[in-house]
């Protein structure tokens, strides 16, 4: 589509940019420290954007001269990102971590990051891939270091900026080699050009793909590109940590699915099964190995943590590994399972982090000791945390079980060549049971049972229930999610 025509399908992004500009202007003229006005405006703008995403319907096409794809898959990822952002805005307003800081820009930065993730979800051009990853990264650097006076937050942002810039630099070098081999920056032209290459370019192509994988791996924190994750997650303000563990990860997976399934696979339409990789370099095996190492490493190190925040950081690495499990199958079933898991993961992971935010505020710390006896002192908080821990482990009847079920089903249906991934996945689920249950054990079996019962404020209770109820409800009756994902499983493809 030409540039002007594209604008008619670009409503969500236009509304979002309008919101960002308006929020900046209002923030400049607002006097108060805790800019409730700006956060209200950004939340309202995001809701309008969500409505626009839902209402903008068109058959899959490309926007802005083949730079972006417009398809249900992109809209699906955009919706997940917006929902996560709205929840984070609500929890940030209820958190005391930002006391003494001017928070107007905080909400503006969140909105800019959403814009970057919109681009990530729909990029089908190498320039757009690099630009969107950088926009999201630069915003996250600032957000991680938002507490300027806090040395831990400073250190988190320093480590983040160094790892982030380094990985995107390496990815850029890989992209430049791909550009040199194929002479184009568009995904579909690249696919055709790669098919036409003779064997002499294999080494260069493999090298370039590994370099590009470094950039994607950093975004979804897959081992061996995960080194920043624990430190950044621990040092950042907790709402930012919760955000980083969900939204950019979803966008990163979207980008990865698009890149690998549309550049390296023949028959890139998601209509049928039985695709095959068109490049000699065996990237499905490589992704499988990365997935297994990621989940094992995340789980094994999570066991040893004494801080719940750091434990959740490693657990989010492990969950990246689970989600990666289905990508090597190169089937629409694998993409389907990953998409379901992204929805389920949104509820359970944000829920666990929100409880952590509340506990840090009330108990003054984030170690397992601070959770001792919590189930007796704050029954509601203890109960919802138990739900989230069960869900993260993958026990029925929670959303975690449904998500894992589809992932394992996709891997096993893909044939005996992938059984080993499912085997390690199952083994890891058992390992993860230990450290998730440690939280539950601390809450109910350690510490002194007390007679004084604390109930969280009304708004906090609502937030907890908003996440806990879907965590159980979709674990019992998940047809709505299934239907939504099925409708969204349509990637733009181009037959040249």
């Amino acid at each position: 589509m030409s540039n002007l025509q594209s604008l008619s399908l670009y409503w969500p992004e236009l509304i979002l940019s309008g919101t960002i500009l308006l929020a900046i202007i209002i923030d400049i003229f607002s006097e108060s420290q805790q800019s409730k006005k700006v956060s209200n405006l950004v939340a309202l703008g995001l809701m309008l954007t969500l409505i626009a995403v839902a209402l903008t319907k068109h058959s899959p096409t490309t926007l802005f001269m083949d730079a972006l794809a417009f398809d249900p898959f992109a809209s699906f990822i955009k919706s997940i990102v917006i929902v996560a952002t709205i929840l984070i805005i609500v929890i940030s307003r209820n958190s005391n971590e930002f006391e003494g800081y001017h928070t107007g820009e905080y909400y503006v930065l969140l909105a800019v990051m959403v814009f970057g993730m919109f681009l990530m979800a729909s990029a089908i051009d190498l320039v757009m891939v690099y630009l969107s990853i950088e926009v999201v990264s630069i915003m996250s650097f600032i957000l991680a270091g938002y507490l300027k006076e806090n040395p831990r937050s400073n250190e988190a942002s320093l480590k983040y900026v160094i790892y982030g810039a380094f990985s995107s630099g390496i990815m850029l070098y890989g992209l430049s080699i791909i550009f040199g081999l194929t002479g184009t920056t568009k995904f579909f032209e690249i696919k055709d050009a790669i098919n036409a290459l003779d064997g002499s370019a294999n080494l260069a192509l493999t090298l370039a793909s590994v370099f590009v994988l470094a950039g994607f791996g950093y975004k979804i924190s897959a081992v061996p590109f995960h080194f920043w994750t624990p430190d950044v997650y621990e040092g950042s303000p907790t709402p930012v940590t919760a955000y980083l563990s969900v939204a950019p990860k979803a966008a990163g997976f979207a980008l990865m699915i698009r890149f690998f399934n549309q550049v390296f696979v023949d028959g890139a339409s998601l209509s049928g099964m039985g695709w095959s990789s068109t490049v000699s370099f065996s990237w499905p095996q490589l992704l499988g190995i990365i997935s297994v190492i990621t989940m094992s490493m995340g789980n094994l190190i999570a066991i040893q943590q004494s801080s719940v925040k750091r434990m959740l950081a490693y657990s989010s690495i492990a969950h990246s590994g689970y989600m990666l499990m289905a990508l090597p199958t190169i089937s629409s079933e694998g993409v389907f399972a990953t998409m379901i898991y992204l929805v389920m993961y949104l509820f359970m992971n944000l829920g666990a982090f929100f409880v952590l935010i509340y506990v840090v505020e009330k108990e003054g710390g984030e170690t397992f000791e601070h959770f001792n006896g919590l189930g007796w002192r704050m029954p509601i908080v203890g109960f919802v945390m138990t739900i989230f821990m069960f869900s993260l482990t993958g026990l029925p009847p929670t959303v975690g079980f449904i998500g894992k079920f589809y992932l394992f089903a996709a891997v096993i249906n893909a044939g005996p060549a992938f059984y080993w991934i499912a085997f390690f996945g199952a083994l890891n689920t058992v390992v993860s049971l230990y450290y998730y249950m440690r939280v539950v054990k601390a809450m109910y079996f350690s510490g002194e049972p007390s007679d004084v019962i604390a109930v969280p404020s009304f708004s906090m209770t609502m937030i907890f229930l908003l996440l806990a109820i879907p965590s159980v409800f979709f674990g019992i009756y998940w047809v709505p999610v299934l239907g939504w994902v099925k409708d969204s499983l349509l990637l733009f493809s181009q037959v040249l």
């Binding site: 690099y130 630009l131 630069i138 900026v161 624990p230 430190d231």
Partner: protein
């Protein structure tokens, strides 16, 4: 001298120097300089491929975008390092060690 290979060699050397700098330097600003080298090596690749490959302008356009993004990234990174210096009186990334690895 005026061939694609020369430029690719130069870019590969720049890339390796950048990699070496990022891994060995402990001074935050020196690490950033290494990252700039990596970004510029990719830029040389883009321009060289576009110039010698007989391709369209997308290589040059890509390089322009990279320059803009590198500037934005450097601005944010330097701001973060200045902030670290204000709080810890050092720009050595090894001395920022409150979070255990």
């Amino acid at each position: 001298m005026d061939s694609l290979q020369t430029y690719l060699f130069i870019s590969a050397i720049l890339f390796s120097l950048g990699l070496y700098g990022v891994i060995t330097r402990r001074n935050g600003i020196a690490v950033l300089m290494g990252i700039e080298l990596i970004l510029n090596s990719a830029n040389i690749n883009f321009i060289a491929f576009a110039r010698f490959g007989g391709m369209n302008l997308s290589g040059q356009v890509f390089a322009l975008f990279v320059i803009i993004m590198a500037a934005a990234e450097a601005a944010v990174a330097l701001a973060i390092i200045i902030n670290i210096f204000n709080n810890l009186q050092t720009v050595n990334i090894d001395e920022a060690q409150q979070l255990k690895l």
